[in-house]
């Protein structure tokens, strides 16, 4: 299969720490631009340092909203914790009117759904649209039949060009704890059935980008504050990985293309590329099954 990435590469620092933000995204007129962060809410120094890089990149690449992949607030969730672990590190972004669209992680109190800045509107799961993109925010902590029914219905009803799902637990990862095979068992069939293009997850404190699995691109972006150094492992299924420092992802969708770049805490780009929407991708070259023998 011809990959639009060219040869799959293990993500490495593409350049030394830059003086200015190195933006490889095309910034096309009318494009949908967003930030992706996961496992961010520690309130620790690393979260603030990553946030500073995000602000720096945001000056060159003005995005309008941010996907939060869960574990938005670690530990206690007192008002002062929300201040230290969310509003202070992202103050510049909040002041600029950047919309944060959170998913719930296993460290999050489900009552975060009432916290207005997370835009869950009182719900554990929801869907929203930006331009030609439909996002599905899923609560992978508690996939009850009602949520799965809702997801099936909403995916079917989505008239958008792009379908992007995001939630906390990765369906594919090489990290120590391994993929959430049980979550995969219930979500993947719906994603395949309804043609989801891209999935973002956190939980594992590393960065990984998978080659398409059943036609879906999977990203794990779980290192916006925490890090499990050395926790990704080589795999032929991986297109890129980075586990040496914290990271975040910037994305831009224009027409049938999703451009992305992943940046580490030092401001260095560690992965970048462009993905095609599922429906316009060239069909994969598969090994054709032999024709069944004719029966007399």
């Amino acid at each position: 299969m011809r990959s639009r990435f060219g040869a799959a590469t293990i993500a490495v620092a593409l350049a030394a720490a830059p003086l200015g933000a190195q933006v490889y995204l095309p910034m096309k007129s009318g494009s949908v631009r967003f930030l992706v962060i996961g496992d961010a809410g520690t309130g620790g120094r690393e979260q603030y340092e990553v946030a500073n890089q995000i602000v720096r990149y945001g000056k060159t690449f003005p995005f309008t909203f941010a996907l939060m992949l869960g574990d938005n607030i670690y530990g206690s969730e007192r008002p002062q914790d929300f201040d230290r672990k969310f509003t202070r590190p992202y103050k510049t972004l909040l002041d600029k009117g950047i919309e944060f669209d959170a998913a719930l992680g296993n460290h999050d109190d489900p009552n975060q759904r009432f916290y207005k800045p997370f835009n869950l509107g009182g719900n554990r799961y929801r869907t929203f649209k930006k331009g030609n993109v439909r996002f599905f925010v899923i609560d992978s902590n508690y996939l009850d039949p009602e949520q799965l029914k809702w997801l099936d219905k909403e995916l079917a009803a989505s008239g958008s060009d792009w379908k992007i799902a995001y939630f906390h637990h990765p369906l594919y990862t090489t990290a120590r704890r391994g993929p959430e095979v049980e979550v995969r068992a219930v979500l993947e069939p719906l994603f395949v059935k309804h043609g989801v293009d891209v999935v973002f997850s956190g939980h594992e404190h590393i960065y990984e980008r998978y080659k398409p699995q059943k036609g879906i691109y999977y990203f794990t972006v779980g290192g916006a504050a925490k890090l499990r150094k050395g926790d990704t492992h080589p795999s032929p299924m991986l297109a890129a990985r980075f586990d040496r420092d914290r990271s975040f992802l910037l994305a831009e969708i224009s027409g049938d293309s999703l451009y992305f770049q992943t940046v580490n805490r030092a401001g260095t780009v560690v992965d970048k590329g462009v993905l095609a929407r599922r429906e316009v991708r060239p069909p994969p070259t598969s090994t054709a099954a032999p024709a069944p023998a004719k029966t007399p």
Partner: protein
């Protein structure tokens, strides 16, 4: 549909456990209603009774709408929790998770676990790893500084449905019934989950 079929087969298999737990008398000539359905219906009634009580308590403390103030969310949760705990001061294990239901559910869970491959079992063990070894009790607040273990996604469809305000959780080998917004543990079922 497939889930339903699996559930039905399991339920039929598990019915024996319920019958034993319920101590059904041999002399009952007429075949009783499906024991599983009876137990689930009784559980639904107990959940309904709690939800009625809860509604009166919510009416007194007020509904919570999305807010920018985390203090407001915390205060509301605390008020609701306190009123639930006060109203259920006499609550004890088994009030909602009756022995009959516990026997049935433990059998369902055991059967479900035995069907899962090693990879799933390992994931479930990993999910428990992050939890402290606390012993959940009725009317206890789930410790807010600890994560909530992800509930096994393929197990949920086998359990009796709950209103959206309530959820099941696994803590060590306990199945826990939790009021989400108030963060109060309403009932516990020990030895329900294989360790």
């Amino acid at each position: 549909m497939r889930t339903f079929d699996v559930r039905r087969r399991i339920l039929i298999g598990a019915a024996g456990a319920v019958v034993a737990a319920a101590g059904c008398k041999k002399e009952e000539a007429k075949p009783a209603a499906n024991p599983t359905e009876t137990v689930f219906a009784d559980f639904a009634k107990r959940v309904d009774a709690y939800m009625k009580l809860r509604k009166t308590l919510v009416d007194s403390v007020g509904e919570l709408d999305p807010t920018k103030s985390q203090a407001e969310i915390t205060t509301h949760a605390t008020k609701l929790a306190n009123s639930i705990i006060a109203a259920r001061a006499q609550a004890k294990p088994g009030d909602i998770f009756t022995p009959e239901l516990s026997a049935l559910v433990a059998t369902l869970i055991k059967q479900e676990y035995s069907r899962r491959p090693d990879s799933v079992q390992e994931t479930r063990e990993d999910q428990q790893e992050e939890l402290p070894a606390f012993v959940p009790t009725v009317n206890m607040l789930y410790p807010t500084t600890y994560p909530l273990a992800t509930f096994p996604a393929t197990l949920l469809p086998l359990l009796p449905p709950l209103p959206e305000q309530l959820e099941y959780r696994v803590v060590q080998n306990y199945l826990v019934l939790r009021d989400i917004e108030a963060n109060v543990i309403l009932d516990v079922m020990p030895n329900a989950v294989p360790t």
